[in-house]
Symmetry: C2
Subunit: 567 residues, 2 copies
């Protein structure tokens, strides 16, 4: 930014590049709606008032608000590249994203992180990164990489890095585990994101004393307000699965709570949901509908997030601020007429060159995807026992049951389709780590369903009714370099390539959404229970921090006892 040019354009000593004329500007600092022109030069706002410009756009009758900030999200949940994801956000008015790439970094480690930061440089939106604090998420599984405090510190000075990503190891924080405090102390001069679902009282106080500044896990008003009182910024989440906005905002409005430490985020939102309803635009709309004053809702979406994360010259329509602007037909309904990023209407933004079906120059390369050891012939054989510990899927929920079934019950289940085998295969370093067990409630008729997306270590996870199709599924995942597959009688009847780390596709969103719909449809046709998401539910079966029974590449894990089950 050349301040001399801004200073001249502000005084009309040089003509501004663009003037948006006669709109109604929402000033997030004063809380006023003001009929003003907005003058832009060099990608920055140089003044409001009455201006003439090289280009002028009349927006009489419309509103202008600052571009939105999505304060916390994982791009990997969209399964497309950072670039493709960002373009989706941009269409819905988001001009700044604060991302935590902990999925892809669990796969690709520091190299993937460097690639993400490199691509951020060429991303048309402001793409910030919180460095993943918990890679691996737990010691009960093998991820692709281990990132300690020193590996993370190497990235501190990157201009896209705002701090340390969500600290999920709450036990480690409260017990002063050295590996955790090392990380916290290394980032005490930056923002540290929290992740403290249901934490309360003195534990919460201690967690905040550790230097943690934000939390996005509140599901109730009471949880949110306790966190605010402690000093945490509360990021109100409305994603595909976790929808916390109504509970929190209703309480905030009812109790007349100050909103200056509240912002909006999506955390995990799928592409189809984004296309349907937007991201932060949806949060604003919903919050206003729940009675939050219009100004407060837009402040949460803009300047509040900027303040919480220390972003300069972002989040307001004011002099010297980035010309990140959303033009609206309706302020309360957040109906978007146009979006400007750095003073350029989004349809005119030049994108980094990207070929369909090939990794774009601006994104991470697929250097690692499926690298598992050869499987033994009897890999999927489960020795006969009197009784088995069985994972019980609960419809529409992420928690599972810990079932104990007799041999006869399991055999009957295998026959009627209610019980299937589930296996996790380490896929990063060909360690040969492997586990296989029974699962109830998935309801696949015949064949195997498999994916390389399996939280948080992202090993291969497979469900099947016969060993041969399970072998074929692993083979197919290797062939396509990661993704989703459905196998029947040795043939791939459905397949979705996620060649970037086995998590993301390089295809354009349109193509990708169609392929995703197709593979999900095929899974249901193969008999998966219609109340279960065939791949997302599967991908959570390996997450050893959510009750009650899970499977990792190291074995069956009892989350309540916090240990593996004996063989």
């Amino acid at each position: 930014m050349d301040i001399k040019k801004l200073i001249n354009a502000a005084q009309e000593k040089a003509m501004p590049d663009l003037v948006l004329k006669n709109g109604t500007v929402l000033n997030v600092f004063t809380g006023e709606l003001l009929q003003q022109d907005v003058a832009i030069a060099e990608g920055y706002i140089v003044g409001t008032g009455s201006y003439s410009g090289k280009n002028e756009v009349d927006i009489s009758g419309k509103y202008i608000v600052p571009g939105f900030i999505n304060a916390h999200l994982h791009v990997e949940s969209s399964m497309v590249t950072p670039l493709s994801y960002s373009l989706e956000e941009l269409r819905h008015g988001t001009t700044t994203v604060i991302t935590d790439p902990h999925e892809i970094v669990n796969v690709g480690g520091a190299e993937a992180l460097a690639d993400i930061l490199d691509s951020a440089e060429r991303n048309p939106i402001d793409y910030y990164v919180m460095l993943p604090s918990c890679v691996p998420a737990t010691p009960f599984e093998h991820s692709g990489a281990v990132l300690d405090a020193d590996s993370l510190k190497a990235f501190k000075n990157n201009p896209h890095v705002l701090g340390l990503g969500e600290m999920m190891n709450t036990v480690g924080v409260l017990n002063n585990d050295i590996s955790v405090t090392d990380k916290l102390e290394s980032f005490s001069d930056m923002i540290i994101d929290g992740h403290a679902p249901s934490m309360t009282g003195k534990s919460l106080n201690a967690y905040v004393c550790a230097g943690i500044k934000t939390d996005h896990e509140s599901t109730t008003y009471e949880e949110a307000v306790e966190k605010l009182r402690c000093g945490l910024a509360v990021l109100v989440r409305e994603g595909s699965a976790s929808k916390n906005l109504e509970a929190i905002i209703t309480g905030i409005v009812k109790n007349n709570i100050d909103t200056s430490k509240l912002a909006f985020c999506t955390d995990d939102k799928h592409l189809a949901d984004i296309r349907k309803e937007g991201t932060i635009s949806h949060n604003i709309r919903k919050a206003i509908a729940l009675g939050l004053p219009v100004l407060r809702a837009y402040q949460m979406a803009t300047i509040n997030a900027a303040r919480i994360y220390g972003l300069k010259n972002t989040g307001a329509i004011a002099c010297g601020y980035k010309a990140d602007l959303v033009v609206l037909d309706d302020l309360e309904k957040v109906t978007i007429a146009e979006v400007y990023k750095g003073g350029t209407a989004i349809e005119n933004i030049e994108l980094p060159k990207q070929k369909e079906y090939a990794p774009p120059a601006s994104d991470i390369d697929p250097r690692r995807s499926v690298n598992c050891a050869p499987l033994l012939k009897n890999a999927f054989h489960i020795p006969e026992k009197k009784s088995y510990d069985v994972i019980g899927i609960i419809k529409n929920q992420i928690v599972t049951e810990h079932l104990t079934m007799t041999h006869d019950e399991v055999m009957a289940g295998l026959k009627d389709g209610s019980v299937r085998k589930i296996a996790v295969i380490e896929r990063h370093h060909a360690t040969g780590c492997f586990a296989c067990a029974y699962i109830k409630g998935y309801c696949l008729k015949h064949g195997a369903v498999a994916t390389t997306t399996a939280h948080d270590s992202h090993n291969i996870i497979i469900i099947g009714d016969n060993d041969s199709d399970m072998f074929a599924a692993v083979k197919e995942l290797k062939r396509i370099n990661g993704g989703y597959v459905i196998i029947s009688d040795g043939k791939a009847i459905g397949s979705l390539q996620l060649e970037l780390g086995g998590l993301m596709s390089t295809k354009p969103s349109e193509v990708f959404i169609a392929e995703l719909d197709d593979v999900i449809k095929k899974a249901y046709e193969a008999g998966v229970d219609p109340d279960i998401d065939p791949f997302i539910t599967l991908s959570f079966m390996a997450l050893p921090v959510i009750p009650k029974l899970r499977i990792t590449d190291c074995g069956l894990f009892d989350v309540e006892q916090f240990c593996f089950l004996d063989e």
Copy 2:
């Protein structure tokens, strides 16, 4: 800060050092008043709720609010040392000050700045410094030092430095003067304070585009709200001379303007006024009385200022925040019962060792004070002319009149006491620069009044009715190493030593206030008009940026024509 100790104390794994029990806590984040204990360890707040501590203080029936932040001030206006000044602030609940030492730096340059920063290290309150941007303030006078961008940049990494001090060279900003933009660009990653009295419209837009973030010069609501809209933080000033709070806050309340970019400051406030009414405590009290909601007033005094200046862990009663606390008997009247800095009650704070009447170890040393060239015998002789340009003092105002008086009128004035001689003598580098003229309205009966405090270059300024007493005044100022003097028939009948740079006294406040009162009393006894402050009015006669006629060591300056008068 050892976060491990805080984490343990928060969970009562180790006992907190101090617990303030049963008070009512003002939470500036949620806006709530909550009955809670406040637990403190290692000087930080570790939790609110129900706690036991090594020490417990019952404050039932009282309120606890965060320590106040004075967002902009010049310590030199108090004429005591930074340490003495800070102790005055502390008694009135201020635990953080953001200072601009531009008076002393105009005298002592980079060395004085280094001394101030060194003493900040040992100051019991949080003493932050904005680096003086305009030394000298104007090119029309000789100050003790010239600080360019490079000299300032050398101080950027000092932990007490928050950025660049008030940019008074508004013309230089708007015209992209290279010496100004050099400074602005050097500090674009930090806070830059503004100083833009009455600036409006496109000039204001340009000024803000230059990267300036604050302004404390608004005198009306309209001026303040325009600056807020542009993106400036507005520091609402209530000092000894400039009292802007009522005008601004009345408008803010009436128009329901968001207060998140508003904070409080005093700019220049004298010790006697501080003793009488406090500093930021007075601003809060007055704002509440004008109808500002209690929460908003306290936010302005605490968290808002912290956000504006990027201060971390300050300005709130929350986990991991500094235990800077004010205990109040009454929230609206701001009646202070106790002040804690870093968890220590102020009466228990250990001070840096300081002897009465000697420069304290913690403060700047008096290496420079009065260093003027020998005066010629006819120094105060004004050649006879038909008519003279005469400075006209206006009672109770800082602006002056530009009078033209005939020889006879001047002679009559000298006789009846309405006209006296005024002289400015360069005192930093013995350059010999010198100017003498007539002034009307000061009304000294007989003798000479002189001071080394003369804004902003702080040369010697003298008013007298006879040359011999004027010579004696210079001699006396040299002898006492700077200060205020009153001479009659060659004898010092009043004298106040300001041995730190000729601006500040190292004496304790109690002693100093008595001496100041005495010298002012003596000045009035010597005949100075009772509607004029004998020394402060005199000290502004050399400031060549305030209309209409001024005198510097380079001559009589016509502020409206912005040039010196021809001899």
